[in-house]
């Protein structure tokens, strides 16, 4: 049972280690799907939003963790 629990923990850590980043990526992709599907925006515009959104989420996730750790340290 411990092996199964460890495998599940590993899978969880692989994709969901940072809840904020995971939620951000999923919301971003869902929003772009809705914009392209329901609001008929140009797909390429959706691509630009996806790329810039991912870069912003990366910076936000790293910055958030840095701030959290520096607050813990002080």
């Amino acid at each position: 049972m411990s092996v199964i629990a460890d495998v599940l923990r590993e899978l969880f850590a692989m994709f969901l280690a940072d809840g904020w980043l995971t939620a951000g990526v999923l919301l971003l992709v869902a929003a772009i799907a809705v914009l392209i599907g329901a609001f008929q925006i140009m797909p390429l515009l959706g691509g630009v939003v996806l790329l810039i959104g991912c870069l912003a989420l990366l910076v936000g996730a790293a910055g958030r963790e840095a701030k959290r750790r520096s607050a813990q340290g002080s």
């Binding site: 692989m14 940072d18 992709v29 840095a66």
Partner: protein, 251 residues
């Protein structure tokens, strides 16, 4: 020569190779501790059993992937790659900025060795289950990430075999180096590799998520190196920005 070899195949094989290198080094450290302290029979049994489970997983998942429509496959794998790749890149940025400690194979080897010394040893002639399970779990857990990376960078673009060969090459390299030096591979620049693979996986994730959403990327495959360059640039700038407050504190 087909330009997609340089734009897609080489990055896919390279990502599988370098990501596997990182994971195999981590598994090797624990298998080495098991082999050194509790005997190579337990280490080999655990390793081979875990490799068998991983091979079965690939054999099971491989044919299933062929049944899924390509666009849905690209979207699902693209999102998983974004979650996984950006997770790696975030951690690599924090390590490069000095916020998280670097991975230390020698420290892991010492901790693992202490735990193995502390646990009971079974009688001579019988298989040492505790040691076997330690090696089994190490190879299985690190191998899961390798399997995911190979499937993710391979399946979206029909490159499952080249990506598998990239991962296999990494295993053979680590095995050969490990046999020669016979100690933890502490000199492998783990965070640099993780940084590079995080960049590539994030770029692949963005590309395939877009393809899955029906986004026609300008230049098609040529967009991939552009995305990788953007992720790399933004990640490096983030490292330098996050490093500054630490340097200011140290002054």
């Amino acid at each position: 020569m087909d330009p997609s070899i340089w734009n897609v195949t080489a990055p896919a094989v390279g990502s599988a190779f370098f990501a596997s290198l990182v994971e195999v080094v981590e598994a090797f450290t624990i298998v080495l501790a098991v082999g050194t302290l509790r005997g190579w029979r337990a280490a080999a049994t655990g390793t081979v059993t875990a490799l068998g489970v991983l091979a079965a997983l690939i054999a099971l998942l491989g044919p299933l992937l062929g049944e899924i429509p390509l666009q849905i496959l690209q979207l699902v794998i693209g999102i998983l790659l974004l979650l996984f790749g950006m997770g790696w890149l975030r951690k690599a940025i924090l390590r490069a900025a000095g916020i998280l400690p670097l991975h230390d194979e020698e420290a892991i080897f010492s901790t693992e060795s202490a735990q193995l010394r502390g646990s009971g040893v079974s009688g001579q002639g019988t298989l040492d289950w505790m040691a076997t399970m330690t090696a089994f779990k190490a190879v299985l857990l690190e191998g899961l990430e390798v399997v995911f990376i190979v499937i993710a960078v391979g399946a979206g673009g029909g490159l499952l075999w080249p990506a598998s060969l990239g991962a296999l090459a990494a295993c053979l390299v680590i095995l050969a180096v490990g046999i020669v030096i016979h100690k933890p591979l502490a000199r492998v620049p783990e965070n640099t590799l993780k940084f590079a693979v995080g960049v590539m996986l994030s770029a692949f994730g963005t590309f395939w998520t877009g393809e899955g959403l029906g986004i026609p990327w300008p230049g098609q495959d040529l967009a991939l190196p552009v995305f990788a360059g953007l992720f790399l640039g933004v990640a490096l700038v983030t490292v330098s920005v996050l490093r500054r407050p630490l340097a200011e504190l140290a002054r």
